[in-house]
């Protein structure tokens, strides 16, 4: 029996929209982009804090074993 052929959607319009979004972001002024970086950093703050805490715990475990 022949395996049914998968059909995948055409996502070229989604990719084109993403590319257009990147171009719009690239066209912003340096000052606007600095503000975006501040906002991005704020958004990932909890993740960075959790990562740092995990690293600290790992380091403590290693030093306790030594």
């Amino acid at each position: 029996m022949e395996k049914p052929q998968s059909r995948y959607p055409d996502i070229s319009d989604i990719l084109a929209l993403k590319a257009s979004g990147r171009r719009q972001l690239a066209a912003l002024s340096f000052a606007e982009k600095l503000s975006i970086l501040d906002a991005l950093k704020e958004r990932v703050k909890p993740i960075v804090q959790a990562r740092n805490a995990r690293r600290q715990r790992q380091a403590q475990r290693l030093s306790a074993r030594a």
């Binding site: 990147r22 690239a26 002024s29 340096f30 000052a31 600095l34």
Partner: protein
């Protein structure tokens, strides 16, 4: 927390003579040309004339650390000096490529409505790309790809920098990894 404030403090270091020639490098410099990408720190390329040299040959950041402490910033972490919650790495020029990049850095006016105007020195696009090719980590190569996609780098100028600093082999390796024909 604001990168603008952090850059203001870097400018104050220059005004006080703690650093002389400097330029923003890395992801924040790339902002001037391509879309923003997340970064955790601000890289500042600085001429080695500003560093104290230890007897061992190590470069010390003492004058920068002293000037920052005078300005109220004394916290230092593994990722750099903390200035307004942004870690700042002061990177001494470590190659002829970086020396040339620093020499040719461009001055930007950062205007945010309601704030006094601020100037900042930023590396040129061809140097950001050449340094990324030289470093060759995956995140650097992604940055090179972003510059090419956005047509944000003058290919003639880039070719000249790549040839002058013996980076053609690394450049061709990047093209192979990216699966593109050499555009230079």
């Amino acid at each position: 927390m604001s990168l603008r404030k952090t850059i203001e403090v870097v400018n104050k270091l220059a005004e006080r003579g703690a650093i002389q020639r400097y330029a923003i490098a890395g992801a924040v410099a790339a902002l001037n040309y391509i879309e923003p990408t997340l970064t955790e720190d601000l890289d500042i390329l600085v001429s080695i004339a500003h560093f104290e040299k230890h007897q061992s040959g190590l470069l010390l950041l003492t004058p920068i650390a002293k000037a920052l402490a005078d300005l109220g910033y004394s916290e230092r972490t593994d990722v750099g000096f903390m200035i307004d919650e942004w870690p700042v790495q002061f990177l001494p020029v470590a190659s002829a490529l970086e020396e040339e990049a620093l020499e040719g850095a461009i001055e930007l006016d950062i205007d945010i409505t309601g704030d006094p105007p601020l100037k900042a020195r930023v590396l040129g696009a061809e140097y950001i790309v050449a340094i990324a090719v030289k470093l060759g980590r995956l995140k650097d190569l992604a940055r090179v790809q972003a510059f090419l996609d956005a047509r944000a780098v003058d290919l003639v100028a880039l070719k000249s920098v790549v040839e002058r600093h013996d980076l053609m082999t690394k450049w061709l390796s990047f093209c192979a990894k990216a699966g593109i024909e050499n555009p230079l």
